[in-house]
Subunit: 331 residues, 2 copies
């Protein structure tokens, strides 16, 4: 069955049933002109993120489940990046009228899995047909007491990231070469086959990072951090943005950038530069933050904030200025 | 100059400059991962709406200014429909990389005009490239004390609309036949030429209603109303939705539906049914509400809430059941 036989009203009805919730702060949920919340936190955080077919994803190598999961995850990541834990989501969903019921069901299963994982309620959104490319966006809302923006880094502070970099970019490169979807879900990652001599064990964390990213909660770092953001477009461009907003510079050490052993092995097999993937690859969704304190757990110290300039220091101490290299739309 | 030469970062920078604001409740605005607000109202209202090229608009007969204006207006209308006056907006903007600087500037001028008109601040959003069709969405946020949803209508209450119906649908039909943009703006509506024997004076309110809709504020009706929504997809489908949510029926009187003299004249010339446009035409963005009270000003009494069934009563008293006819995506 196709969306053209189901129609907007029936789809909306099924969404309301699937995503019914009982949080007492949701005064009015899905299905009206606006959602209404009871809100008592000091600050209200709001973020929105788009995902457009052919730009952010390619249906040749992402499943509808993974697409739904990622749609929720990217906007949750934006909220984590400000030190906030989101509670509510709205989704704008633009699908082709030929979309199958199977696609819709698995897409919503992915959304549901991410909502459960990140403990968020879907409270509204909008449905539309599209002529060609699928167009999605997610809005997240949450309350909080402390704001961690890109502004606030001070010279002398340390720069941290919360996990391995480059895995997601390598995962995307693998998918492009495989040129078919890898139908893993949150509860089942067994359906990965070895590829170009790379075993399942090597492939799994790289593919999973791209398809079903697993966000680190900001809570353990919020009280120590002076500025924070998520790495969505690549370390160099995102760190450059943080430096620009904070009006500071940064030195990072190439041998301190955390790189997984899987990335090292896969990048050699694929003929890619491991360092380039880690420095400029997007979509790792790790947190990047600065702190005056020395942190022992949960984050890697990759460099230091300085007065000005952005410099990468190599293994032998050679300094290479870096520019904000990474993904930029339109260019 | 094209977006491919400007790039995301420069565009974002210019948006930040254009839409800088100084509301003291905006703690953190455009340019970070999330926006942060100080919020003290009892209830928080949130709404989001999509506008997709080829579905919601056609660049053959809408100018970029009008597109920007309408993007803001449709989401403000959703908030008005709940009895809330929105204060903040976020925009998701997906444009082709070949988009010209002229397009961008006039598109943002339209957004700015609507933000000023509806007294809203732009606080964030997302930018993306698209391969083909432009994809836009708007998120609006506001505080309020009373919620007017689609639920709440009671048998015996009166049904009201706040203005003429069918004008926007007739305006769209005119534009399709003219097959070119009519470059009117909020401050200049002089650039309309007569068409098919219809004078500027007849054309102006019809075209303006479609291109630059002028929303009625809900404030005068909020205290009297028991349920409310906006007419975006057509009176019959939208009233059916209100009845479904309120678990009631409705009788409406065909001779009480407010229709402009311009619509009467134009529909004859165009060979269209004036009544059909008024009953099923979308995008008028008038408020539809129910109230136990008899209201003297600002709204037209078009019918009454009954226990069940949805019926249109003709001039001679004949009753015709109506189904939720109007625009529905995907079908």
């Amino acid at each position: 069955m196709k969306l053209s036989q189901i129609g907007e009203e029936t789809l909306l009805e099924s969404i309301r049933k699937t995503f019914s919730h009982c949080s007492r702060n949701i005064v009015h949920g899905i299905g009206d002109d606006a959602a209404v919340l009871r809100q008592s936190s000091k600050y209200l955080f709001v973020s929105t993120d788009m995902m457009v077919e052919g730009i952010h994803f390619n249906l040749r190598f992402i499943t509808p489940y993974q697409l739904g999961f990622k749609l929720v995850t990217v906007t949750v990541s934006d909220m984590y990046a400000m030190g906030c834990t989101p509670q509510y989501l709205l989704l704008n969903i633009g699908l082709h009228k030929d979309t199958t019921k199977y696609f819709i069901n698995t897409f919503f299963a992915g959304i549901q899995a991410a909502l459960l994982k990140y403990n968020c309620d879907l409270i509204g959104g909008d449905l539309s047909s599209v002529r060609r490319d699928i167009s999605l966006s997610a809005v997240s809302i949450g309350g909080g007491k402390k704001i961690l923006s890109r502004k606030g880094a001070q010279p002398g502070e340390k720069i941290y990231v919360t996990g391995f970099l480059g895995d997601a970019a390598c995962g995307l490169e693998l998918l492009k070469r495989m040129n078919k979807p890898v139908p893993i879900t949150c509860s089942n990652t067994s359906r990965i086959q070895s590829f170009k001599g790379l075993s399942r064990k090597i492939l799994q964390p790289l593919l999973k990072r791209h398809l079903l990213p697993d966000l680190k909660k900001p809570a353990p770092f919020v009280k120590h951090a002076s500025s924070m953001m998520d790495i969505s477009d690549g370390l160099l461009i995102d760190l450059s943005r943080l430096c620009k907003e904070s009006q500071v510079g940064a030195k990072i050490y190439s041998d301190k950038i955390p790189v997984s052993s899987e990335l090292r092995i896969a990048s050699i097999k694929l003929g890619l530069s491991c360092q380039k993937l880690a420095l400029t690859g997007g979509e790792d969704y790790e947190l990047l933050f600065t702190s005056p304190r020395e942190l022992k757990r949960g984050a890697y110290h990759i460099g230091d904030i300085v007065e000005s300039g952005t410099v990468l220091i190599g293994k032998n101490g050679q300094e290479t200025p870096f520019s904000p290299e990474g993904y930029q739309h339109f260019l």
